[in-house]
């Protein structure tokens, strides 16, 4: 039996209170909050965080990664390779992108389900819209990762009972490559198209799974066409899974996964869950949880991440982070682009946060060194991955002069539990709350982009409880 053997979601720390949009612009906004990727996050880094959450308590590692996003950090260059490197997975791993549209989430999920070995689908999206638009307000940023495998690999916690797809060619939403916003045709046109496709696919999926609507325990209806989603949701009645519109927003490519993760977080054994995805057609998947879900060890639930958010983000900062407001930079040179050969040589360090540990003295070197700082032994080091080890702040400073898209830069010197020290930049933190003795954990971020090169590396953030 093949199915889902693990999953993890990532909801970024910041929230935009939608009322701040109307307060600033006199238009737009609405009620509730949307999640916001920080200035140092993109769909790749959020994908890494989701995958780390999925793998944190897993006993197995994926042999393939299928990454889907409608907002890729790079074109031409595969983004899944950075995720594979950040997860410290071996080069035998097959890491590929699908992308361009929210529908590509289905390619990653179905591809992972149908692959051999342990396959991880990672869905990630960072939703933008023109200031005051519905997309800006209703969108959200998140990523989610699902591990598929066979019962022999790891206990299957949910398996597929049946599925059905329908495809439709019609103009609903569309975006030119390079644009930071979508265009949308009149809503009522798309609604009709989606309702027909959705109802038809649901009927076929129920038949394939040999269940009736009344047998379902939970129904997820998801898609970027709000009106169609709302209309089709009526079939679910009280079984409808909360769409998280008021606390996260619609996370596009990631949303079907985010809602499924949210449903699985609270699912008991034997629950039947129908997932309806409206994106240039309709795809319906009917799942059933197994006994194994009762023993599944979740690292961070969707709910806990929603609760851990910070709503203090101001709208002008949000616009700055998304590149819609070009603010006066500090009178400092722009950062240098990283060089491809040096980054290649140090990819264990740069991407996987792997240092070196002296076999004789045990001293940990971050970054890795060939000559030990303790005893001077040469080339007697073993690799040690520090990405998941918490640390304590030894000293810190707030740099108000350094280049940053979101000054000030918080720099901390941190000592890892069990040894090792590193001077890191800190993120997702109120500068006033940083103190010696504070506890931190590592997170994979995009430090800056220079000359078209995204500079990925690790930062520290407050240790989540």
């Amino acid at each position: 039996m093949r199915g889902i053997i693990g999953y993890g979601a990532y909801v970024p720390y910041y929230r935009l209170d939608r009322s701040k949009i109307a307060a600033a612009m006199g238009a737009g906004g609405g009620r509730g909050e949307r999640s916001v990727a920080s200035f140092d996050e993109d769909t790749t880094t959020m994908g890494v965080e989701a995958a780390r959450n999925a793998l944190r308590n897993a006993q197995v590692a994926p042999t393939s990664i299928l990454f889907a996003t409608a907002n890729p950090a790079y074109l031409d260059k595969t983004n899944a390779t950075a995720i594979q490197a950040a997860l410290d997975l071996p080069q035998e791993t097959w890491a590929v992108d699908t992308g361009g549209s929210a529908r590509s989430a289905e390619a990653a999920m179905r591809g992972a389900r149908g692959s051999e070995g342990i396959a991880m689908a990672i869905l990630s999206d960072l939703r933008t819209g023109k200031p005051t638009s519905a997309d800006e307000s209703n969108g959200g940023d998140a990523a989610v990762a699902f591990l598929f495998g066979d019962e022999d690999d790891s206990p299957v916690i949910a398996r597929s009972l049946g599925s059905a797809s329908a495809t439709g060619e019609f103009l609903d939403r569309y975006r030119q490559p390079g644009d930071s916003f979508s265009r949308i045709w009149e809503e009522r046109f798309g609604e009709q198209a989606y309702l027909e496709l959705g109802n038809e696919a649901i009927e076929r999926a129920l038949k394939a799974a040999n269940v009736g609507l009344e047998d379902l325990d939970k129904v997820i209806v998801v898609g970027l066409h709000t009106r169609a989603v709302n209309s089709l949701s009526r079939v679910a009645g009280d079984k409808l899974v909360n769409g998280l519109e008021s606390v996260v927003g619609n996370t596009g490519t990631a949303h079907l996964g985010l809602l499924l993760a949210s449903a699985l977080d609270t699912a008991a054994a034997g629950e039947k869950i129908m997932v309806v995805h409206l994106a240039d057609g309709a795809t319906v998947q009917i799942l059933e949880t197994t006994e194994a879900i009762n023993n599944y060890n979740r690292f961070k639930t969707v709910e806990s991440q929603i609760a851990g958010g910070n709503s203090s983000l101001d709208y002008n900062l949000y616009l700055t982070w998304r590149g819609f407001l070009d603010r006066e930079p500090p009178r400092r040179p722009d950062p240098d682009r990283p060089g491809a050969p040096p980054a290649f040589r140090s990819q264990d360090w740069k991407y996987a946060f792997v240092g070196s540990r002296d076999r004789s003295s045990g001293a940990i070197h971050l970054p890795p060194m060939r000559v030990s700082m303790s005893g001077g032994s040469v080339d007697d080091m073993e690799r040690i991955r520090m990405a998941d080890i918490p640390a304590t702040i030894a000293t810190f400073t707030i740099d108000r002069l350094a280049y940053s898209l979101s000054p000030p830069v918080v720099a901390v010197v941190i000592d890892y539990d069990g040894g090792g020290r590193f001077q890191a930049e800190m993120t997702d933190v109120d500068p006033a709350a940083v103190e010696i003795g504070g506890r931190v954990e590592m997170t994979f971020r995009r430090l800056f982009t220079a000359e078209g090169i995204h500079n990925y590396f690790w930062k520290a953030r407050p240790l989540s409880s």
């Binding site: 040096p342 140090s346 810190f396 707030i398 002069l401 010197v413």
Partner: protein, 396 residues
Amino acid sequence: MASHGIKDQVAIIGMGCTNFGEHWDKSVDDMLVDAAHEAYESAGVVQDDIDAFWLGTMASGVSGLTLSKPLQIDYKPVTRLENMCATGSEAFRNACYAVASGAYDTVMAIGVEKLKDSGYSGLTGSAPPSDGTSSTITAPATFSLLAPAYAKKHGLDEDTMKEVLTRIAWKNHKNGALNPRAQFRKEVAKETISGSPLIAGPLGIFDCSGVSDGSAAAIIVRAEDAHKYTDKPLYVKALSFSSGPATGALDSTYDYTTFREVRASAEEAYKQAGIVDPRSEIAMAEVHDCFTPTELVLMEDLGFASEGTGWKEALNGTFDLDGDLPVNPDGGLKSFGHPIGASGLRMLFECWLQLRGEAPPERQIDSDKTLGLTHNLGGQPGACVSFVSVVGSQLG
């Protein structure tokens, strides 16, 4: 295998030092010509008397041509070198060794830096292509790491720490107000210093040294030849340099309240000079006060105050112009700014004036001691290079 030093083997016979400041009207070439010719005149030599040159600059030029072209040096050796913010001192050190070795009779060490042409705030540097993982925080941020660590270790509350740092800046500006060559020649009220906009951590703009242009030079000969040029040569007692393993950011035993490189270079310099108690034996010191917490920590690392007491000594005026051990009587980097290649030689220039009794009367130190110390630092806490020299007006 041992380090021997060259105590009393070489002497400075002349020095030059431009005004430091925003020299919009002067190029690197102009400043080199000014400093070099002031030094020639001071020593009573002409350019043809100089056998070899050492030019220290971090980024204002490459190769010996940076000096030989503006000075029109006729086919003599010019070494251009760089050792971060200790570049000027490094030029001096290597020039001294060349004379001590017997290779040359008369040499010049000269340092220059033009920072104000970049248009940026603070220092900037170009690094070789990298993997993009190195820290990109600024110099004030790296040195500001000292402040909370020192305060916590020695039990100072935030206000007291700020008061200590403020007094260091106040003292150096007070000294600089008496120095016509300084970039900033005004006393600054303590409230202005402590209330200045924050740059990094607790450091306000007045806790940071300025950014300026400048050049300084020294002419060096064998000690036995010094009296042919001047009645008052300055003898080199000690030259030490320490380049650390840069493990501060890797090694959890490093606590950001000291510079291990400074301790190593001070110990070595005192050994070469035969100094047992620097606090009581030295007349004055010019130290690398790039940021106020740096000077605080240096007082302990250089042995001017015992560990954990530097802040009290700073507050009670020990290092004031009329204190027990005047530190930065010329106003320091605080008043001069830090044109990198020039700073180390500018420090020596103050020793040159003070130990020969030629400082302007309003800042001339009244002391029967004959030794001066310069300290020059490059890098950041936990990863730096440190230079210490001891010079003296008497042999022995």
